[in-house]
Amino acid sequence: MLEIKDIVFSVPDLDAPEKGAQKTIIDGVSYTFEQGKFYAITGPNGSGKTTLAKLIMGIYDVTSGSIFLEGKDITQLGVTERARAGIAYSFQHPARFKGTTFRDLLSIAAGTEDVDKLAKIVARVGICSLDFLDKPVDSRLSGGEIKKVELATTIARNPRVAIYDEPDTGIDLWTIDPMVRLLKREQETQGTTTIVVSHNRAFLSAADTLLLIKGGRIAYAGDLDGAAELLKDLSACGYGDICEGESDVRCHR
């Protein structure tokens, strides 16, 4: 349904001593996502999970390789065209806007300003009341609230492929299970091919297939049980090479 073929993504390596050196973030990844399945992408910090998701959405351009959606080569398409082709993306750190309300974003996402239709989407997402619609999506929203807005705008697209980058960031513990159920329900009722980038066991357990990314490659693809040994390694700190001891705030993540 969604096929990525030999994709490579490199960026200039600013830390390298020689000029013009490249650093490879995604190192020749091929995979075929099947229609209507739920995938979880996990892996250590800096392994390339989010980069892979952004390459699929077209937020980053691949250095080489191809991406096909339902047989059509979309490698050269930009974000707008991929969105229109049926891919939707939930950002880990959603943008905040001065003056733009949840209603504005939802109307753009759903392609309608019809109040009844918007109300139906809000009910379908089931995470916020209707009076929330006229709240500006600005710095006054809490981390959890803005993630719910992000989720709702993604679902409102009725996407063929929905990509969620760390959907539980800023979400309280009690909201994670309902969120997992919501994504499962969308997958089952709408046939949405669902790709979730996450470390959270709740999402990993919900997935039909787990993709473990390590060093820019797929280290494992299969069910959660089969990944148990590999996941143990991930509990170790991923910042070993830059560690400055406990004074480094990243140790407290």
Binding site: G78, T80, R84, Y89, A109
Partner: protein, 306 residues
Amino acid sequence: MFDAIDKKLLKAVADLEGIPKGAYNIRKNGKLLGREISANIIIETNEAGTGIVVRINPGTLNESVHIPVIVSQAGLHDVVYNTFIIGAGSDVTIVAGCGIHCGGSKSQGHEGIHEFQVEKGARVKYVEKHVAMGEGKGKRALNPTTKVFLAEDAYAEMELSQLGGVDQAERVNMVELSAGSSLLITERVMTDGAQTAVSRNEIILAGDNSRANMISRSVIRGDSKQDFYATMDARAKCFGHIECDAILMGNGSNETVPSLKAKHSDAELTHEASIGKIADEQLMKLMSLGLTYDEAVNRIIQGFLK
């Protein structure tokens, strides 16, 4: 009474399709075009004949006054002095605004000097839109001065906008707040080409528990220039906030200077200011919802100036 240009300007500055409901005073090219008063709202020409005095009787509730100005005569620079006395305990909306239509090469302009006395416990919403249009090459200038005196527990909300066509604008807002009174100013200005706009605001928080909030949103297209100055001068236990954001779209420039002066130890003053281009993450979000780059820019600007 109105020709096609008048109608277009009235629609743009006051959302009027024809004669407004309630009290009004319409001024065209420096002369009175029409006036209507109501039982509670009296409009008279001032003694010097240079403008009007609008008196709102105490306790007048949910009434409105429209006072649009049209300048369509080539070369005319219209200056008007208007006074508004908002009676104690009333709650009214005043819709002002000036539309310039420039058809020739001579410059045209309007200077509205407005003074508000908002009496005890009164609430007033003042909406002012400035628009200029027409094919002429003459410069269109709008230089409003608004002075507001808020008595105890009074409230004023000022919605000031200039969303296109004005070549030169110099706005001055001066407000003095007595005890328990509140002020909200929202200013939205969009400039393009070689236009310039300056906004100077002097807000004096003179009374205990007075509150003032000044919000400014600027969009600077082309090579235009906008400058924003705002001072909150706190002389009592009070709260004041300035929020000023400017979006640069082309090669224009902006100077934003919020200034806070606490002359009382219980004053609480804050400000936030930003100048920059539209954030990439905002554009990317809207493009991921299916909008093109240009559509995304327009939506963000629309929301910002809404």
